[in-house]
């Protein structure tokens, strides 16, 4: 196609030069702002890891394991049509290294054989249990327990969604802490010992703690636990491995140090039960229930003017399944974006509200910048860069500055996150895997991140169009396949 085609466009841009110069500045400033934030996050994350790393402190974990004074935890596992891997998932939960843990599986009206498989595999029998109807959920059809595994409880209820299932679990739990884990995920055996430490260190202030999520695809499993850590063999899970590593190693650790954690992953988080009840449990009308409950907790504590802390600890790991196809990955990312917007919109009065302290003034705006404004400005940028290029007004200086902000510094941040992980946690199994992840750190910035930004903007459009529901999330069933 000849560039002459776009001559009118060139004329239009040149006639409105001040406007398009403004757009060019906007592109550069937004890119610079995001990179500036990452530049601040990295040293903060490094400092936090230096000061609070549990990575080598096996002795303290051991002392907690053999102590009978460790805080009891209920592990809540909502399950909907999880017949493929539910038995193995429960098996892995029963193998957790923790002195006082109760496993509560919530069958959320599955239409497959999830319930039957659980009853048969663990010799479950119907029981009753006194419980508090403190947070709303759909009707419970039955409770089951096992003489073999006295710490296992199965709640069979009518379908009501993930948030509804967790609420039922909260009502039936009797421990001061509860931990939400997805049914397609595996908790590392010692993860609860690590994740509970902030609660033990400061029981009056800490109300929620998040752990790290890593990709299970490709790992070697034995006895329902990750036996040998390996990188995924397929491209999409591999690039997500690097993406998760960057998100958890940098942003979450830094936010935790700044006291502005606004999200604890729905796949692995631990909360104080009494606070969760006070905020009314998980909300039903959102797909971003994990983000929303945390905002509700911030709001409650700030409204009460009560000193509190929400932390993230990088050492405890929950292994989860990553989508292997673009369509499913796209659905997941659109849903995440929609969920984030639903939660932010619901709590919009907290934004720049001094009443909510650092959360309202810094945490909320930063999350908004990263999760909403960032993708929008990125997509707008791609469009304008393409237009400027076609119109022949794009200078090499401006283009290289754009590439520096969008790609080169992206690679810099990813590589630095990987470096941080290698220096402080050393969870990447082999040197060759480090090289593979280094390649991913580069490739991730050459298309994958841009695609993600498009999905997020679509998520925004879905939010505006009031789209509901979770979409398709096909399970591969790693636990059952091994």
């Amino acid at each position: 196609m000849s560039l002459e085609y776009f001559y009118p466009l060139t004329v239009f841009i040149e006639n409105n030069a001040p406007i398009f110069n403004g757009i060019s500045w906007f592109i550069l400033v937004m890119g610079a702002l995001q990179n500036l934030l990452y530049f601040l996050q990295l040293p903060t994350a490094w400092l936090e890891l230096r000061e609070h790393s549990q990575a080598e402190d096996t002795e303290s974990n051991w002392q907690m394991l053999i102590s009978d004074t460790t805080l009891p935890i209920s592990v809540l596992v909502p399950a909907y049509n999880e017949e493929i891997g539910i038995v193995e998932c429960v098996g892995s939960m029963l193998g957790l290294e923790y002195p006082d843990v109760e496993i509560i599986i919530i069958n959320d009206g599955s239409t497959d054989a999830t319930l039957q498989r659980l009853i048969e595999s663990f010799s479950l029998i119907p029981i009753t249990r006194a419980h508090q109807l403190s947070v709303p959920h759909a009707e419970v059809r039955g409770l089951y327990s096992s003489a073999l595994h006295t710490h296992l409880l199965l709640i069979d209820k009518q379908n009501g969604g993930k948030a509804d299932a967790i609420n039922a679990g909260i009502n039936f739990s009797r421990c001061p802490l509860f931990c939400v884990v997805d049914a397609d995920s595996i908790l590392e055996a010692a993860s609860l010992l690590s994740v509970v430490r902030p609660f033990m260190e400061d029981p009056q202030r800490v109300i929620a703690v998040g752990g790290t999520i890593r990709i299970i695809n490709g790992n070697e499993l034995r006895a329902n636990q990750v036996h040998k850590v390996k990188l995924p063999r397929k491209f999409l899970p591999l690039v997500q491995t690097m993406e998760y590593l960057r998100a958890f190693m940098m942003a979450r650790i830094a936010f935790s140090r700044w006291g502005i954690v606004t999200i604890i992953s729905g796949a692995f988080g631990i909360f104080r039960r009494d606070i969760a009840i006070e905020v009314g449990g998980y909300s039903h009308n959102t797909v971003g229930e994990d983000l929303e409950i945390l905002l509700k907790m911030h709001r409650l504590m700030k409204d009460r003017k009560q000193d509190y802390s929400i932390r993230y600890v990088p050492e405890p790991v929950c292994w989860t399944e990553a989508p292997e196809s673009l369509a499913i990955l796209g659905n997941q990312r659109k849903r995440w974006a929609r969920g984030a917007l639903e939660a932010f919109f619901k709590h919009r009065d907290m934004l720049f509200n001094p009443r909510y302290g650092t959360i309202g003034m810094i945490g909320f705006p930063l999350s908004l910048l990263i999760d909403v404004l960032g993708p929008i400005s990125a997509v707008v940028t791609y469009i304008f860069i393409a237009l400027f290029s076609l119109a022949g007004v794009l200078t090499i200086h401006f283009f290289l500055a754009f590439i520096a902000l969008e790609i080169v510094l992206g690679i810099f941040i990813s590589v630095l996150s990987l470096t941080l992980e290698e220096m402080e946690l050393r969870r990447v199994p082999r040197a060759s895997d480090l090289v593979t992840l280094l390649l991913m750190a580069i490739i991730e910035n050459l298309g994958y991140r841009q695609l993600n930004n498009f999905w997020r903007v679509i998520g925004l459009c879905q939010f505006i169009c009031k789209k509901q529901g979770w979409g398709i999330m096909k399970r591969i069933g790693f636990l059952s396949s091994k």
């Binding site: 500045w25 402190d57 004074t69 200086h397 810099f412 082999r430």
Partner: protein, 350 residues
């Protein structure tokens, strides 16, 4: 053309800086990859070496006399960390003579200066490991180091030092230890209580002093918890004074201790606290009433079945069940119009 020529210099600078930053990071990561490759290359040798050192420690366990320098092969300087790791692993599982044998191997290898070095210069986890090793030594110097670190500002280092002192039964130093806790910022109540109870009965007077002192609430609560676990009935009277504390957490803890100790002296205060303003205190008082088999509490427990707080109702129903025939009869009589009575009876198959 977009943006004036005057800005092109800054745009070029941005491009150049980003390239330089990324190149530096890539070089750093490349060095880390090389280091990792080296480690992987050395791994089989390291595993073999670890096995050899472990065998030496295990051989020492089977001997009846401590080992000396002459009995052992020389230890390379770089293997000192490995030897400490193995010793710590073994010390988790052994006590008494076996622990002495393990320490004798470390002493024979003259590892003590290394342990001291990691205690002073290492990070938190290294300090914790060093103090855990010192818990098994038997000399004045290591005891002094444990005492010094019992006042550490780092909560895990402090816990490790206190644990070490408890393991060494440092009863003579209890005043100094508890003095550290008077000014401590330690908030890990549960772990602190777990360690304090290890000092046993000789610690009771000082724990009572700590519980009634001006120390932080967390330290006082830990002292009460420890006293309850030690389990002497002599503590009841001083504890009952604390039951009137204005802090709900203290009242809860004292009630829990009274229930654990099963002392009839606690009956009056339990009955009184069943009417406490704090729901958490009422719930604990209801539990304690059940543990003490306090029949005088039957009317109060029955009333608490209608308390506004679910946990209070639940604890009251549980306690009524624990009180046996009369309590169960009350639950049966309320079965039709009290949800908790119904649920508890159903849970117990009654």
């Amino acid at each position: 053309m977009l943006l004036s020529n005057s800005t092109s210099h800054w745009l070029d600078l941005l491009w150049s800086c980003s390239l330089v930053f990324t190149a530096i990071t890539l070089i750093v990561l490349a060095i880390l990859v090389l280091k990792r490759w080296r480690k992987e290359y050395d791994l089989p040798r390291l595993i073999q070496h670890r096995t050899q050192l472990s065998e030496i420690f295990h051989a020492a366990l089977s001997l009846s006399v401590p080992l000396t320098e002459d009995d052992l092969p020389k230890l390379r300087r770089r293997d000192r960390a490995l030897a400490c790791d193995i010793a710590l692993d073994i010390l988790r599982a052994v006590r008494g003579h076996d622990a002495i044998q393990v320490v004798s191997v470390l002493e024979a290898w003259r590892i003590r200066p290394y342990i001291e070095k990691i205690l002073h210069k290492g990070n938190r986890s290294k300090s914790v490991r060093a103090l855990t090793l010192y818990a098994h030594f038997n000399d004045e110097n290591s005891l002094q180091l444990l005492l010094i670190h019992a006042a550490s500002q780092d909560i895990y280092v402090q816990l490790a030092a206190l644990r070490g002192l408890a393991a060494r039964n440092a009863i003579d130093h209890l005043p100094a230890i508890l003095n550290c806790l008077l000014y401590s910022q330690q908030k890990n109540i549960l772990m602190l209580a777990d360690i304090l109870q290890r000092f046993g009965e000789p610690a009771i007077p000082l724990l009572l002093e700590l519980a009634t002192s001006e120390a932080a609430l967390e330290a006082r609560i830990a002292a009460v918890k420890a006293l309850a676990t030690i389990g002497s009935l002599t503590i009841i009277e001083p504890l009952l004074i604390l039951a009137t504390s204005h802090e709900p957490l203290m009242r809860i803890e004292v009630l829990a201790a009274c229930g654990k100790l099963g002392s009839p002296q606690a009956e009056m205060i339990t009955l009184k606290l069943l009417r406490d303003n704090s729901a958490k205190v009422r719930a604990q008082a209801a539990q304690t009433a059940g543990m003490l088999m306090l029949y005088e509490a039957l009317p109060m427990l029955t009333a608490l079945l209608n308390d506004e707080a679910w946990w209070v109702r639940c604890c009251a129903a549980e306690s009524l069940y624990q009180l046996g025939t009369s309590g169960i009869a009350i639950l049966h009589s309320l079965q039709t119009h009290n949800e908790l009575a119904t649920q508890i009876l159903s849970e117990r198959n009654l």
